[in-house]
């Protein structure tokens, strides 16, 4: 078989347009999906937006509730959220711009994957430490609206309930955060990883 000849025949039969495609610029702008890189960047910004809203809320509660226990809890949360916001801003600024497809895409995909994966891991680890603080702060806040916090904290039953709430809520919140992270970032990072592996495997094969 003459491969070149058959390829020519294949091109004419399978790939040659039968009719003019009559493309218009409006057709070109109608893109069906966004690059996973762009989606990741957008979702990181949304994540930052939520963090900013929570931070503002914590600041309001910090001012409105002067009890030292509440202030300690919300003070910790404010500091951690502030650090997370600054860190995320730094990370996003240092991500390379999304390349046009005429250039090299592998290094950019690797940068996005590695940096965002590291950022998510960091968030998950830090969050594990603040969930108990957050749960305790929430509980203190709830108690304060109904009774005197100092008096209530003298009661062993309240301390038990508080302890149980922290023990139950911490893993639950961790699991929920991981699930949300998977929805917002995980599947796109996996998609990029698959393509990175493919490109790297290609380089090795070649």
């Amino acid at each position: 078989m003459d491969i070149q000849q058959e390829w020519k025949r294949l091109n004419e039969g399978r790939f040659k347009p039968g009719e003019p495609t009559h493309l218009a610029v409006s057709d070109l702008m109608r893109h069906p999906k966004q690059s996973p890189l762009a989606i990741l960047r957008r979702n990181a910004k949304i994540n930052m937006g939520f963090a900013a809203v929570f931070l503002a809320g914590f600041c309001v509660l910090f001012v409105l509730f002067p009890h030292p226990y509440i202030r300690i809890c919300f003070g910790v949360l404010i500091l951690v959220y502030l650090a997370a916001l600054l860190f995320t801003t730094y990370k996003l600024r240092h991500l390379p711009p999304i390349p046009d497809m005429g250039g090299a895409v592998l290094p950019v995909m690797k940068a996005y994957h590695d940096q965002l994966r590291a950022w998510i891991d960091w968030q998950e680890k830090v969050a594990l430490f603040i969930y108990p603080v957050s749960a305790a702060g929430g509980a203190f806040l709830g108690i304060t609206t109904e009774a005197d916090l100092d008096t209530m904290l003298q009661k062993p039953a309240v301390l038990w309930i508080l302890g149980i709430a922290v023990v139950v809520l911490t893993p639950a919140a961790h699991w929920l955060a991981r699930w949300m992270g998977k929805v917002a970032f995980g599947k796109y990072l996996d998609q990029i990883k698959t393509n990175i592996d493919l490109l790297e495997k290609q380089e090795q094969q070649l």
């Binding site: 025949r9 039969g13 493309l23 070109l28 069906p32 497809m101 290609q202």
Partner: protein
Amino acid sequence: MFTDEHVFLQQIEANIGIVRKVVHLYVEHPDDRRDLQQEILYQAWKAFPAFQGLSKFSTWLYRVSLNTVLTFRKRERRHATDPLESVGQDHPAPERHDSDNAERLYDAIRQLKEAERALIMLHLDGFGNDEIADITGLSANNVAVKLHRIKNDLTKRLNG
């Protein structure tokens, strides 16, 4: 007066076969193919201002198409039940007088490793080793060695 859009659309019209070829050799499902073809056109349009005419438009479009496929491609959807069904979605199926040999060649290329498909496709489309090296980022020597191996492999598959 010819605008950038006009030039671009003319070039795309003339080279749309490249986009179709890449999409068909890398993606199976008709919906994925349609999405990906549209995505390639969009990415090409976006990248067009950076195209300075240093290479041929077809060379550049190949690079954009391959990069887009490798960046945007998602896990494959379920394959179409009939391979010919997937072909007929966005362009006519090959006519019967297209020899079975051409179909066998298409199947054989699709069975190659992903990296090899791009190399043989470019080679059969008449690109020189230097141009293939430019598109794939390999050295011309590496391209030559690899192409020799792929052609042998392809011949064995077709004759075996």
